[in-house]
Subunit: 556 residues, 2 copies
Amino acid sequence: MLTDLEIARAATLRPIAEIAARAGIPAEALEPYGRFKAKLGTDFVRAQEGRPEGALVLVTGINPTAAGEGKTTTTIGLGDALNALGTRAMIALREPSLGPCFGVKGGATGGGRAQVGPMEEINLHFTGDFHAITAANNLLSAMIDNHIHWGNALDLDARRIAWKRAIDMNDRALRLAAVGLGGVGNGFPREDGFDITVASEVMAIFCLSRDLDDLRARLGRIIIGQTRDGRAVTAHELKADGAMAALLRDALMPNLVQTLEGSPALVHGGPFANIAHGCNSVIATRLALRMADVVVTEAGFGADLGAEKFLDIKCRMAGLAPSACVVVATVRALKMHGGVAKAALGTEDVAAVRRGVSNLERHVENMGKFGLPVVVALNRFTSDTDAEIAAVQEAMAALGTRAILCTHWSDGAAGAAELARAVQGLVAGGTARFRPLYPDEMPLAEKIGTVAREIYGASAVALPPALATRLRRFEEAGFGRAPVCIAKTQYSFSANPALLGAPSGHVLPVREVRLSAGAGFVVAVCGDVMTMPGLPRHPAAETIGLDAEGRIDGLF
Amino acid sequence: MLTDLEIARAATLRPIAEIAARAGIPAEALEPYGRFKAKLGTDFVRAQEGRPEGALVLVTGINPTAAGEGKTTTTIGLGDALNALGTRAMIALREPSLGPCFGVKGGATGGGRAQVGPMEEINLHFTGDFHAITAANNLLSAMIDNHIHWGNALDLDARRIAWKRAIDMNDRALRLAAVGLGGVGNGFPREDGFDITVASEVMAIFCLSRDLDDLRARLGRIIIGQTRDGRAVTAHELKADGAMAALLRDALMPNLVQTLEGSPALVHGGPFANIAHGCNSVIATRLALRMADVVVTEAGFGADLGAEKFLDIKCRMAGLAPSACVVVATVRALKMHGGVAKAALGTEDVAAVRRGVSNLERHVENMGKFGLPVVVALNRFTSDTDAEIAAVQEAMAALGTRAILCTHWSDGAAGAAELARAVQGLVAGGTARFRPLYPDEMPLAEKIGTVAREIYGASAVALPPALATRLRRFEEAGFGRAPVCIAKTQYSFSANPALLGAPSGHVLPVREVRLSAGAGFVVAVCGDVMTMPGLPRHPAAETIGLDAEGRIDGLF
């Protein structure tokens, strides 16, 4: 079997200006980055404002296995299939992070015949957006320590600096660090740490900003810490927002690439779906809607995390209203939810599928709570049996939802044609009545409770009194209308990764609450949440390299 | 008076393909990055091997004031003037670092009418080369700590890790840090620190590599530290060199931009001139020589540091033989060397010029020791008087060297026409007989002594016995043929920044010696040398931002 990299290499990409032209984007709008990548100029993006918008389709998934269930490949396959059927479709994806690429996960540009390319370039530096975000984040850090060093006119409390440094790398040794060591010339020692760039607030801000002005304003609102008497201090007070915006100016232009089958794809921004909201930039999604009849986009992790945040944070803030939702599932993962051990996932077990399908059922029902019609994409693996597939389809039929077998990984657009027809039907049906799960004016603690009960199936939230007080403080400070961004494990509806299927009656333990004033949401950390991954014992970096022709090898 | 940014904005840049075409570079060779920047494809670069090479002209300077004496503007002005006179000239410069840009120095793309553009883009992320270098550096760091965390099969001694992390930012708080804090999951605590990216060995390697294979081999030779029994451990043993090379592959393609007058300029790589060798990449210089009749390049700081390393490290390793050398001086700086305080540099003081010209004299004589014919470029300031200028010219005439008044800052190519004619004459004269200062086979300690006596005018080197032993160890390990890279202050021929003019009889104190096995040189640190600058009390970042039209403001 060919690897993703081999398939990507065997494909012939078209000049990006040709892809752009087919999507109605003139050559003057392109800022090329090599031959197969381009940024779309700010003037062009602005000139599309007011154009009619196509339909937005969200691809989300069940609670995944560690390998993921194929949301990105399904997004790409569906986009390709829609284009093959004559619907003008555009794909909107997140950019990959270098961290997982050198760690265990490999690239994040789809797989098989459902990929965006150039695969190696998108997975490595792409157009430099994440480097720009890292630099903006760390300029603010340098200005914080510099401010304290030179007299601390703002009276910042070095013990209460909330702003961490960032690096786009899996590096556990940087999670907690003491900086400013070595004497007077090096500033005041304090505790600090590095988050991976995709977990940074700058990344979330970048992805939620409407335009450059909004970006600058949001950067200025970042709360970097407190004074000794407890007053919040912003990036604007440090005069860092202007230079941060300057560093991000070019990055904010959306990136155009293509699928292996020639569909246009905007790949832009990429926040984590735990500590942040897990979907591509508002600017790219909005632009895609103005350039296409259907835009297919994805949200990270399972629908409990990714879709909920996509809908309650991104769509709410940006005024987007999706027309349909695709929930991706695999028979393997449903068997896992049905209690089968990893080693036995390749063996037929219809009973386990019937048990585990409860996970899929709840996600499908949950999407209905947002007013969205749903179709299930069953991402086929060779080990799946007809009886197992039938079990999933029966369960979905009972809910009035179709579960469509997809083989875009091996067959490209043809493998997602039936899914595409179903999506066309949902869009044309016009039954979507999108509504966020909770209103802006609901108190913050109640918002957390609403997500916990309605989406997670929890019976209650364990919110320590100190955190309840903190949430009230946020409300008093004027942040009460913000949506909540719940950070929890992606493996379960609950905060316990071992609780598979569709657990009920569990209690959601809130461990910490944070205000991301620039991003405009309140983070509720539930359980162990990683904002800086580590590398595995044998990281992928050990086998990545250059072959004799100077091509990049070992990416997968 | 217009600022550099205003002049840059008022200029109209031509599409980069047009600049390339005029330089004989076909459109297929370009990997465009926006409309005015392009990388030159590896295949094209390789295809130029064996082509006849033009003449190489080095622009260097006297020991500078903090503001610099105008080496970059002179390099650009001279290149423009040569082109205006009908000589096919190309310019080869270093890329700017973000650190100084947000600190005190501002941009590094020349000034006035002698600039390369697009100024804001080159000064900020450019084509992402420095970000790629930072990422490669920090991937190695992450793999070191990861190796120790997962069992330390190589028996690395955590107390003897020589490899530091890097960031392209002025950030004093990161000079010395304790990492790996926070418990078992975060690895083993150890002391670490961050160098600014331009001071990293990866940057030096990047700039000295002949091609991708050489790059990979050099990365593999990096010594990251020692085992508990004192054996050196390399990046190759950690299996990091392949992924590092993959991260650097695209960055290694030279960047083509243009001057405001339309001359082609390769701007590529940018190592510090203290801890590293301070000049642009070998690949870019070599390519430029194959595309032009004359290539004008510059080396950082004064000729004692920059030119000496350019000649003894870069030219030696790459087999380059310069044809002529331009030493840039200003009347203001010569007055400073003559003992005038900064506040009085604008007042005429011919006697001070006569005293201070000793600094220029020694640099001119030094270049002769490398077999190079010299012309002095006197970079004119409005406060310079005719009598002061005459004093410099008389002193130079006594050495048989012309000192030519240049006004390219205000007048562009026309202001460097006489300098260009003089350079044409030196090149046509063919009198250059380039030889490095010392042979490869000279012992390392003697190499340091030779530079100290011949170039710095020192009477001796203070080399502590422990360091002499360390140098012998390097020789025993097979690194005896390496050139030495002396890190000292740029403000004086000595290691004492206050010792201006042309001091003699001083002793060069060696504080530390380090082996940069990947770069292929031995660093001798003399006096206080900064590998991570700090930000000033009011960093430039405070005033950098976006104007109402989204243009970058406050860069200078």
